[in-house]
């Protein structure tokens, strides 16, 4: 059984049908990159996996449990599925340490005595151990995004979702964030990313999913997909992304 199973998902906002029957499986330990033009439904799909949006028809299962906004253990579910956003969304009124430890403490994952050590541990993994006492606004965009990733890691998620996490960053800061994600991939984290970073998609992902007009248009291993796109839509997308 796949870790994530998406079956014929439809989603409409107002009059716009954003997802028109998406099906997709993600195995444990897999790194799947979703690419496509803006408006193709990539981010919406990602948000549906975390029940931030509810699907109209179709089903999403994560670790065997059906995902929807009213699922009985939604809070527990969200602790197992981390999501990182384009806009970081750190809590500006809390220092880095508290940003990281707030949720683990409130959800009873750890007790107070272990909080600082946990923050140190996850910050080390994103290379920011020295920023534990900083305020978010004192950090660069790339550092803030790495703290956001560390905040997710502190919940020890089984699956990580990344929604265009480098799109809001200055070009010279993109690399440091990608490096952290690459390290996570090597450690076996299951990851689903929406990204415009074709180099990262090519080098790190096991599989590329090309979405177009609310559908999975084409998918496969990066080498094959980038070298021999089967559809003209993907071919033109790759050409334009270069």
């Amino acid at each position: 059984m796949a870790l994530v199973e998406i079956r014929d998902v439809h989603k409409t906002f107002g009059k716009t049908e954003v997802l028109k029957g998406v099906s997709l499986d993600v195995e444990e330990g897999e790194i799947v990159t979703i690419i496509g033009r803006s408006g193709s439904g990539k981010s919406t799909l990602l948000r549906c996996i975390n029940a931030l949006e509810s699907v109209d028809t179709g089903e999403i299962h994560v670790e065997g449990a059906r995902v929807h906004a009213k699922m009985p253990d939604l809070k527990k579910f969200r602790q197992r599925v981390g999501i990182v956003f384009q806009a970081f969304n750190l809590f500006p009124h809390l220092k880095v340490e508290r940003n990281i430890t707030l949720a683990p403490l409130l959800t009873g994952r750890i007790d107070k005595a272990k909080a600082r050590a946990l923050a140190e541990d996850v910050l080390t993994r994103v290379g920011l151990a020295d920023k534990i006492d900083a305020w978010p606004e004192q950090l660069s965009g790339g550092q803030q995004q790495r703290v956001a990733i560390a905040r997710c890691l502190a919940m020890a998620p089984h699956l990580m979702l990344f929604d265009e996490v480098t799109s809001a960053l200055d070009p010279e800061l993109v690399g440091e964030v990608l490096k952290v994600m690459e390290a996570m991939a090597k450690q076996g984290m299951t990851m689903i990313l929406v990204t415009h970073e074709m180099g990262f998609a090519r080098n790190v992902a096991n599989r590329i999913v090309f979405m177009h007009q609310g559908r999975v248009w084409e998918q496969g291993p990066p080498a094959k997909l980038f070298a021999n796109p089967e559809t003209p839509e993907l071919a033109s997308f790759i050409a334009s992304a270069k």
Binding site: K76, F85, N89, H93, L102, A103, E137
Partner: protein
């Protein structure tokens, strides 16, 4: 007739007790209500939002004097309930405080980005935990300066209680002025005392505004 003496000054300062008492009563009962109104105004449930908005709109549209009259003179006439002046005044100032503070705090809550709620939800926090630990602290910081501003309004607004017989600062001024025939001096003193009460708050509010700067 007698000349203005230390006794008169003391009676003015003593009357401050009621001014302060009215402010404290208004805040003790009004602030929790304000929080409820503010939370109702940002609720998911449209019916609750509209009810709270209607309440706030109604109270804000009535002059404070009207509220005082309604609960002191109006209640016996309309409902046949004779309420002690202190109750009538407390209810009037409580509602006044709740409506204005509620609207100020609602603005503060809405000024915190929606994504902050979402970030909390994605970490597995309950709606209450998101509110309590993520949204409310940020909203409080944003709302502090206007909250202090309202406090100054409230302090000055307590002078209206004098018409229901409360010998607070303004009323004490009338009494002293009548006894000494020195209205100019007396009211100048009354004004100075109000000023001394409000100025530190205004300054404090201004320094908060500069320090918090909306971000943290």
């Amino acid at each position: 007739m007698r000349s203005f003496s230390l006794i008169d000054f003391i009676s003015l300062v003593e009357a401050l007790r009621w001014t302060v008492a009215l402010v404290v009563l208004a805040l003790v009962f009004g602030a929790p209500l304000a929080l409820g109104l503010a939370m109702g105004r940002i609720s998911r449930f449209a019916g609750l939002r509209w009810t709270m908005a209607g309440l706030i709109q109604t109270i804000q549209s009535v002059p404070l004097l009207g509220l005082l009259f309604f609960f002191y003179f109006g209640m016996p006439v309309f409902l046949g309930i004779q309420v002690p002046a202190i109750i009538a005044v407390t209810v009037a100032y409580t509602l006044y405080t709740a409506a204005f503070l509620g609207e100020i705090w609602r603005g503060g809550l809405e000024a915190v980005k929606q994504a902050q709620w979402e970030a909390g939800a994605c970490l597995g926090l309950s709606a209450w935990q998101q509110f309590r630990h993520i949204i409310a602290p940020q909203a409080l910081r944003l709302s502090l300066p206007p909250t202090v501003g309202f406090l100054v309004q409230l302090i000055k607004g307590t002078s209206l209680a004098s018409i229901l017989g409360f010998v607070e600062l303004a009323r004490a001024g009338q009494v002293v002025s009548a006894a000494t025939f020195q209205p100019l001096l007396t009211y100048a003193l009354v004004a100075a005392i109000y000023f001394a009460l409000c100025l530190p708050l205004t300054l404090w509010s201004r320094s908060l505004e500069a320090r918090l700067d909306g971000s943290r």
